[in-house]
């Protein structure tokens, strides 16, 4: 809980401190569980429901820690048009249980899709071989 108190203390004077706090908690602790929601609510004088509503709204916030590497694959319209859907079975096989594949809708690189992201690195013009290689190397 000390970690959460420290994170909250960093942001508490900002206007709208909740999202920056949640990002830091997710990044530093790997999850925002019920205990964390409750503590953050108390420190910000919000209700548990309010914090839970925000946490559960965003896919980037997770209730349980998941240490697996993450590959975000865009399956929005442009990438679909460029064939991403046909690659997904291969992606799933490559990922197995070791890698978490997350579907996202648009990474902002529609002209050069299909696209994926690992951490802060974007990968464009992917074909099945390139994408499975990315997943295997993640």
């Amino acid at each position: 809980m000390d970690r959460i108190d420290q994170i909250v203390a960093r942001h508490v004077d900002r206007e709208g401190p909740l999202l920056p706090i949640l990002h830091d908690v997710q990044a530093e602790l790997g999850a925002i569980d019920t205990a964390a929601e409750t503590r953050i609510a108390h420190l910000l004088n919000l209700t548990r429901a309010e914090v839970h509503g925000v946490v559960s709204f965003y896919h980037d916030f997770r209730a349980e820690q998941d240490l697996r590497p993450v590959v975000q694959v865009c399956r929005a319209e442009a990438c679909q048009a460029r064939g991403i859907e046909a690659m997904m079975p291969a992606v799933a096989t490559a990922a197995g249980d070791r890698v978490r594949v997350e579907t996202v809708y648009c990474l902002g690189l529609c002209s050069v899709g299909p696209n994926a992201r690992i951490g802060d690195d974007l990968h464009a013009r992917l074909n099945e071989a390139a994408l499975t290689k990315l997943v295997e190397g993640a």
Partner: protein, 951 residues
């Protein structure tokens, strides 16, 4: 007349001086600027289909059903979020709108169980209505797609259930919790198709969540997703009757929705001016006590309290009682008899009890439970302003800029008003809390007091005088107000007094334990922050200096010019539903109705000629004096209507000794309460659902109480009093409560314009209703004080005689909790015990550690007067050196430890300060064991008539 829902205009009413005129479907309508198109349409009888809109919360625009076409506007805007503008031309029904609405409805219905016939909302469902309104005939999507059906309901709350498969995620419940109740306990979990209503985190259900069970969400729900369990059990109501709640002094009005004589549910009445359509867990849900198995419906008598009770007919009970009373009067004189009126009963019932005592018994020995709560308010405000009541209506809080709460815990004791106050605080009003305990208002979601002054219990006068010191010495007095409205000489005396250095916050800090800088800042904020309103409760009055504190509050309000307009004032939060009324009705030994002294020959003559009796000119005995006199042998008989003095009055052993010494104790109540353990006659009472009459709330608002079912005991309470009066030869012949009200109005100038018919027509009236105020007075002292000029009173701080020492080092203060009410006679007999099954002693972690105590341990709580045992709750809500408990449970009997010190002016007991010690314990005290034995013996009822042995 069948059952009709309350009208719903879709969006809240807007207050504006400017109006706009628009055309809706060819009909012109003029509405205040800012009104939604939806509401404007409803004003002229229209009914635009809607699901996410209801007029208790702000518009949201999510259901996409209330679409309209507006000339010159693109698309099909939602009528709930579109404000009406001048000259707007609106169409609410076109082929395009029909098609759109049906498509939306199809989507909703494709993910909804089609079990209307067996659904508890059948024929009372807005989804059903909307489907009918849009002409839904087919669902093209079928019912086999992704859906939310088959989820388990959340049954954790004792009063309502949440059935997620009936939920359409309109979020009305979430918004009602946020906007109306201000608890923000609900949220929408997830998003998109996965969205669902959640009561907090993934681990919470409704009971474990921050929900306070006010029921606003249930009221807001358009389907049966959130539904009263009582409706599920009994079915849809067939009729409704508007009546007034019988719990606290807020005086919420409800529609009692009935099926036959079965109450199906209580729904706050939107027109109610005290509650504005809101309620709390007690008023809405905690009415099950009315049919509880403990309720006694047959009269009972016995010659001695050692005997079991004997059930008898009403005729026998009344003649037995009258006989005993007459014998005692013949032998010991009229002054050996007395009565106690009830703040839970109606004005009419209270008036008759004091009439019986004064005119029938022949003494003025009548008192009421206001003695032990707000008698200092009566004294203090009468002295300073000239009238014994609060100065504002509840709406006033909507105009306050700085709210000072002292010795009150509104979120627990006056929850519906607290919600209105919290709404104003969320809008930006500032808050100062003066309380030894960190009450919820000090810090709870979205509410934070600018200043919390955690004073030492018993030092209210010192703190308020120190605030006055700051205001006077720093030149913050509203000199114009004082010069125009107040007695200047008295003001100058007072100003000299408070300005003395000995009253500075710095000098008083060792006494009050309030940091001087905080106190100075709070005083400056109150004096300069705009409209300043003071709200106070029993933490002010129940002290040896209760009356002084009330006058210190009045001084502060006058010095800062905070009297006589909306947003300001001095506001006592009255504890019981009709405590204001009981005081107004002449329940005190020295006063006839309307606060006129019994020694005043002219007033007495008025009553004597009307009643045809001779009245004693001497004030009678107060409750504690009656008990003293009983022990001395000069007071022999008492008629107690609807009050449990053994549990509620201080120093339980003293009360027990007094009652035990009397020859005839008559208890008129719903249950065999604790006082009845010492009674010889038990007259069964009727609940507020079984009688007609009026209650007067904390804002002086007189509201009708209506009979929705026959009294289970056979008589309304005033009828029982009348039976007794007539058995004593008084010859009363009231046929209905309205006739008693007419007599009250005839004899009481402040009630002159009040009639039953008028109350039924107008809903409520705030006294005074007289020639000067023909329609009543929401705010008092507008152009001048009732007494003429406002009177400043010098309030010297005198420490209480109840002092801590080595044997009793802690100070105990007492209070209430949300789910329980007063002595708990009603709420303990409802499912409210889910929240508060026992009284707990709150103690600071430091004090607990010093005593080797842990959270949940059994402890012995001892004072100079007595001792009891209960569990402790370790919390930093209380300061070190202070402990706190509630007095809802007879097993604990917190009043065994409270003292008989009392207010110097009114004898209001000093419940709020008792020196105590707390130590580990492993069982009940001797008193608890003895008393439990006595209670068990005393409650035996013999059924000889049926040939059964005594139980």
């Amino acid at each position: 007349m069948g059952y009709a829902k309350q009208p719903d205009f879709g969006t809240p009413a807007v207050r504006s001086d400017r109006t706009v005129t628009l055309s809706i479907d060819g009909r012109e309508v003029t509405v205040p600027e800012g009104t939604s198109v939806m509401r404007a349409a409803a004003e002229i009888g229209g009914d635009i289909p809607k699901l996410c809109a209801t007029d208790m919360v702000k518009s949201f625009g999510s259901c996409r059903l209330c679409l309209v076409e507006v000339e010159g506007m693109r698309g099909t805007p939602a009528s709930c979020t579109t404000p009406a503008t001048e000259g707007m031309v609106v169409k609410t029904q076109t082929p395009r709108l029909e098609k759109l609405r049906r498509s939306v409805m199809e989507l909703y219905i494709s993910d909804h169980p089609l079990d209307c016939l067996t659904c508890s909302a059948n024929n009372d469902c807005e989804l059903q209505d909307a489907a009918a309104d849009v002409g839904l005939r087919d669902v093209r999507y079928g019912y086999d797609g992704a859906h939310h059906l088959g989820q388990a309901p959340d049954l954790s709350n004792p009063y309502f259930l949440f059935a997620p498969d009936k939920c359409i995620v309109c979020s009305r419940c979430v918004r009602a919790c946020d906007e109306v109740q201000g608890t923000l306990a609900l949220t929408v979990d997830g998003r998109g198709f996965a969205s669902k209503i959640s009561a907090g985190t993934a681990e919470d259900d409704f009971l474990s969540s921050e929900c306070v069970s006010c029921g606003a969400c249930v009221q807001a729900c358009p389907t049966s997703a959130l539904m009263e369990k009582s409706v599920k059990e009994h079915g849809k109501p067939e009729r409704s009757v508007v009546t007034t709640c019988a719990y606290c002094g807020v005086g919420c009005t409800f529609r009692a929705e009935m099926r036959g004589e079965q109450l199906v549910r209580m729904v706050p009445w939107k027109e109610g001016k005290a509650n504005r359509g809101h309620s709390c867990v007690k008023g809405r849900f905690a009415w099950g006590y009315a049919n509880h198995k403990d309720r006694i419906t047959s009269p009972m008598i016995r010659d001695s309290i050692d005997e079991p009770w004997r059930e008898v007919s009403w005729a026998e009970a009344i003649s037995y009682t009258a006989g005993r009373l007459k014998d005692i009067r013949a032998q010991h004189g009229a002054r050996a008899l007395g009565g106690i009126t009830s703040s839970r009963c109606t004005n009419e019932e209270t008036f008759l009890v004091q009439k019986l005592v004064r005119g029938g018994f022949g003494s003025n020995n009548v008192d009421t439970c206001a003695r032990v709560c707000h008698s200092p308010t009566g004294y203090g405000l009468k002295t300073t302003f000239g009238t014994s009541a609060g100065t504002q209506d509840f709406d006033s809080v909507e105009h306050s800029d700085v709210i000072l709460v002292i010795g009150a815990n509104p979120t627990d004791a006056h929850p519906v008003f607290a919600s209105r106050m919290k709404r104003r605080l969320r809008e930006g009003a500032k808050l100062i809390v003066i309380d030894p305990r960190r009450i919820d208002l000090v810090r709870s979601p979205h509410i934070e007091a600018q200043y919390h002054l955690p004073l030492q219990p018993g030092t209210n006068v010192a703190v308020l005088t120190a605030m006055a010191h700051v205001i006077v010495t720093e030149g913050l007095v509203d000199t114009q107000f004082v010069a125009e409205r107040c007695e200047v000489d008295a003001f100058e005396d007072w100003a000299r007094f408070v300005a003395d250095e000995s009253h500075s916050p710095e000098r008083l800090e060792p006494v009050t334990r309030v940091p001087a800088e905080e106190l100075r800042a709070a005083a400056r904020l109150f004096a300069t922050g705009g409209n300043g309103a003071i709200y106070y409760g029993l933490g002010v009055t129940e002290h040896s200096q209760g009356s002084s504190t009330v006058m210190a509050i009045a001084n502060l309000a006058m010095a800062t010019g905070n009297i006589g307009r909306p947003g300001v004032g001095v506001n006592p939060l009255r504890g019981q539903n009709n405590v204001q009324g009981a005081c107004d009705m002449g329940s005190f030994p020295h006063e006839l109705s309307g606060y006129r002294h019994i020694s005043d020959a002219e007033t007495r003559a008025l009553f004597e000629s009307d009643w045809g009796v001779t009245l004693d000119a001497e004030p009678g005995l107060r409750i504690n004096n009656m008990l003293d006199a009983a022990v001395d042998g000069t007071f022999r008989a008492i008629y107690i209507q609807g009050e449990d003095i053994l549990q509620s009055d201080p120093d339980t052993k003293h009360v027990a000794a007094g009652l035990k010494a009397m020859d005839c104790v008559i208890v008129h109540d719903l249950f065999l309460n604790e006082t009845a353990n010492y009674a010889h006659v038990f007259l069964p009472g009727s609940t507020f659902l079984e009688k007609d009459g009026t209650f007067t709330n904390a804002e002086r608002r007189i509201q009708p109480v209506r009979r929705v079912m026959d009294p289970a005991n056979g008589y309304e309470d005033w009828q029982v009093t009348q039976l007794l009066a007539n058995a004593m030869g008084l010859g009363w012949d009231y046929g209905h409560a309205s006739e008693i009200l007419a007599e009250i109005a005839r004899l009481t100038p402040t009630f002159a314009g009040v009639t039953w018919e008028r109350l039924c027509e107008e809903g409520s009236l705030q006294w005074p209703v007289n020639e000067a105020n023909p329609d009543g007075a929401p705010v008092m002292h507008v152009d001048g004080f009732v007494r003429g000029k406002g009177h400043f009173v010098v309030t010297e701080y005198v420490p209480t005689d109840e002092k801590t020492g080595p044997r009793f080092p802690l100070l105990l203060t007492t209070g209430r909790i949300l789910s329980q009410y007063n002595v708990g006679a009603q709420t303990r007999r409802t499912a409210n015990t889910a929240w508060h099954p026992e009284d707990l002693l709150e103690m600071h972690p430091t004090d607990a550690e010093n005593r080797g105590l842990n959270d949940g341990d059994w402890v012995r709580l001892a004072s100079r007067k007595g001792e009891t045992t209960l569990r402790i709750k370790v919390t930093d809500r209380v300061a070190p050196g202070v402990v706190y408990t509630t007095f809802h449970h007879p097993e604990t009997q917190a009043n065994v430890v409270t003292t008989d010190f009392s207010d110097w002016a009114t004898n209001c007991p000093e419940y709020k300060v008792t020196a105590v010690q707390v130590s580990a314990s492993n069982g009940p005290t001797d008193w608890q064991e003895d008393y439990a034995g006595l209670a068990e013996r005393s409650r035996r009822i013999s059924h000889e008539a049926e040939g059964e042995p005594a139980e």
